[in-house]
Amino acid sequence: MFTINQLVQPETIEEAAAILAANKSSMILGGCAFMRLGAQKIGTAIDLSKLGLDDIKELDDEIEIGAMATFRAVETDPVLNEYFNGVLPKAVSHIMGVQFRNIATVGATVFSKYGFSDLITPLLALDAEVELFNGGRMPLTEFLDKPPAKDILTRVMIKKNQRQAGYQNLRKSTTDYPVLNVAVANLQNQWRIVVGARPPRAKLAAQASAAMSKGNHSAENIEQAAQLAAEELSFGTNMRGTADYRRAMCRVLVKRAVTGVLQCRSK
């Protein structure tokens, strides 16, 4: 069981960052939904509830998701349901039950770079950016490749555009973690094909995306893109599936996701 020695609820992000930096055993609290599964000993737990980071805002040219926004907020948000074929609400709606989604937060999932995440995969497909207090604003792709650092993720931003997107996942049971997930997005024939829960964290299939972006949407080309995704990414084995099984399923899910996006009508 985890323990918390001291809890602080800073009023400003600067204060939160100072406390985080000052204490080696300090830690930012997210939704804490998985906390009880571990045995962490937290010296100073920093709760961001008072920083107003739980909103999802539609700005002029982007959608901003606060780090403390819950999965349920993502699932039910009208703007996120309107854009990108509602890919983000659809992706998080698979995560356990509504009670859990009322706890788990966007910031904790993204900052922790969970391999099994249902959210990171479509965020990567949508070419999202993240904002960190120390690290500043950067593409999610770049953030995921960086080594872990003590920082505070404050927001996730997605450009508002006509991007069409789709999400596919394979689970052993409804509320289990995904064996594999795939998100695909297309903006003006620039495709992004992302595969997650490999089980390592989600990654862009660059060659497969490039193949689709050539503009040939024939069944053969889709098949080739799906094959490229399966070949260029690495897959691992865990209790939910073998690497070979995931590779085989990658082809299937990419094909389904691409086909689904091609069938979408422009907004």
């Binding site: 709760d47 356990m96 039950g97 859990f100 009322n102």
Partner: protein
């Protein structure tokens, strides 16, 4: 540390530990309908409402309900009994261990979704596990309850 919280419409001040979980806090207040079962945030037996939203009390740190309204099944006795009677009539209660959390989720769904389809009902209730019933009786009960039968 101290928190002020309204539990079942009664405002109260509680002394809690920073790492205390809401399920433990509520049970210490004598609210024994809160079941602690799966330990993995997956079964829904500990479901309570926080400001009307169904939430896992086993995975919510107690300090997070400061200034909020927490409702357990003890706080909605009439609505709970009305649905529980339909559950029992459909043979869907069996051991009854999951019933408090399940009933709280069904009541939350009733408040949130006006006329849920069968698919919406199933989706809303995926976080509530029951080892006895196989869910068929529960589905019959929900449909009858929502249909006002």
């Amino acid at each position: 540390m101290q928190i002020e919280v309204t539990i079942n419409n009664k405002k109260t001040t509680l002394e809690i530990e920073p790492d205390e979980l809401l399920a433990d806090t509520l049970r210490a207040q004598g609210l024994l309908s809160i079941r602690q079962a799966c330990d993995t945030s997956g079964c829904g037996l500990c479901t309570v409402w926080i400001d009307g939203q169904p939430t896992l009390s086993c995975s919510t740190l107690s300090f997070r309900v400061h200034g909020k309204n927490v409702t357990t099944i003890e706080g909605v006795p009439e609505e709970a009994e009305a649905f529980a009677r339909v559950l029992a009539a459909e043979g869907a209660d069996q051991c009854g261990f999951c019933s408090p959390g399940f009933i709280m989720t069904v009541l939350a769904m009733k408040n949130e979704l006006p006329n849920p389809s069968e698919a919406e009902i199933k989706h809303y209730l995926t976080g509530n596990l029951c080892r006895c019933t196989g869910y068929m009786g529960q589905m019959r009960a929900i449909k009858k309850y929502l249909g006002g039968e």
